[in-house]
């Protein structure tokens, strides 16, 4: 596998199939946290870290434990458990070893366990990079990159949305549209812009 494959996967997951705006994964945190720029970016970084790591761990589990022993039906259970334990573990480690970093995104870690983006990335990897129960060539690296790209796309969407919502504070929005409805409508417009990328196949 060469570099261009990796770059196309990154571009694809960030722009063409953005996790939030075209796959709707991670919408709950997107709507809930995107009020201010700083927390949004911190949350985005935390998600990127977890999606990347989760992609690695779940790929190893799927390829070396679940597939060889025909335990595919345990995919959901094992993935969610591994992600939850990893997040818990990361929280403890970061809190002890890097308190400064913990201040930036530590508080978002518990929220991430049930973030659809993380679990979604793990499931998507097994759907896309496995064929007839076998890993496709370069599957591991592709999964890792897709996991990273998923988080990066999430961060980008969060950053843009929080920038818009900060401005929105000063806008005179009708009362029934305030907060959540207007956020959805902005997200719809953003999604329309991202639709311009669709149709590129890698």
């Amino acid at each position: 596998m060469d570099l261009s494959t990796y770059i196309t996967i990154i571009i694809s997951t960030i722009f063409i199939n953005n996790f939030i705006l075209s796959r709707f994964l991670g919408l709950c945190s997107f709507i809930g946290v995107s009020k201010n720029t700083l927390p949004s970016v911190s949350m985005g970084l935390a998600v990127t870290f977890v999606t990347t790591m989760a992609s690695i761990i779940t790929w190893l589990i799927y390829n070396y434990i679940l597939l060889p022993y025909n335990l595919e039906y345990l995919r959901t259970l094992s993935f969610i458990l591994v992600i939850a334990s990893f997040v818990q573990f990361a929280e403890i480690v970061i809190q002890k070893k890097a308190p400064a970093l913990y201040k930036v995104f530590g508080i978002y870690l518990p929220l991430i366990t049930v973030n659809c983006a993380v679990f979604g990335a793990a499931v998507l990897n097994t759907d896309v990079f496995f064929l007839h129960g076998h890993a496709v060539p370069g599957s591991f690296m592709k999964s890792l990159i897709q996991g990273f790209g998923a988080g990066a796309g999430f961060t980008l969407a969060m950053l843009i949305m929080s920038g818009i919502r900060e401005r929105l504070e000063y806008a005179d929005v009708p009362r029934s549209m305030k907060d959540i409805p207007i956020t959805f409508i902005i997200a719809s417009l953003m999604s329309m812009a991202f639709l311009g990328f669709s149709g590129f196949k890698i």
């Binding site: 075209s22 994964l25 959901t76 679990f119 499931v123 409805p181 959805f184 719809s188 999604s191």
Partner: protein, 198 residues
């Protein structure tokens, strides 16, 4: 009568989709057709009822600190059961919902009900709560998918409504989903405010 309240609240007053705004990923992603919407609604309701019963049953036994992982395991079990049953008895539906069946496990609505309600209430009450929430989720999903399928594809449940109508494609793509739910929530906010003012 008070029991009935636990059931009814999910339908409108605390509707998971429109009022609490939880569990949106599947709501938006699968609402491209009404049949998908019904399938997802039923699957999520099954998981809700199953997990609520068991969470309620173990509520005294499980220590506070490990309750969330325990809830997640219970939910994941029911999600896998629903996934296997769907593959066996409704393979076409299972294929068209795809990865969104396993994704029920991270649906905040399910964990939310387990944590906020079932972990504090007896089993029977928890079942009513789960049924109410599940049906509330299902009708919201059917409404959204009916709007998107009819406007975006010109069909309802796969049946063409009118030949002369050229459907705007964008309603069935991602932006249409976000726009639909935004407008629906605004509409419901507006109606609620109006009724309160009376």
């Amino acid at each position: 009568m008070k029991m009935m309240g636990e059931f009814v609240k999910g339908l409108w007053r605390e509707n998971p989709t429109f009022r609490i705004v939880l569990g949106l990923c599947p709501t938006l992603a699968v609402s491209t057709s009404v049949s998908n919407g019904i399938g997802m609604g039923v699957a999520a309701t099954f998981v809700l009822v199953g997990s609520n019963i068991f969470v309620s049953l173990i509520r005294g036994i499980v220590p506070e600190k490990v309750r969330i992982p325990c809830f997640i395991v219970i939910i994941a079990t029911f999600v896998t059961i629903v996934d296997l049953l769907m593959k066996a008895y409704a393979p076409a539906l299972s294929r068209s919902l795809g990865m969104f069946v396993p994704l029920i496990v991270v649906n905040c609505m399910v964990l939310g009900r387990a944590e906020a309600f079932a972990s504090k209430a007896p089993p029977f009450k928890s079942i009513l709560d789960a049924l109410g929430m599940g049906i509330g989720f299902t009708w919201a999903l059917i409404l959204i998918s009916a709007i998107r399928e009819s406007l975006g594809n010109g069909t309802i449940l796969g049946i063409t409504i009118s030949r002369s109508f050229e459907p705007p494609l964008f309603m069935i793509l991602a932006p249409g989903a976000l726009l639909t739910i935004g407008i629906l929530i605004a509409l419901i906010n507006y109606l609620t405010m109006k009724w309160k003012a009376k």
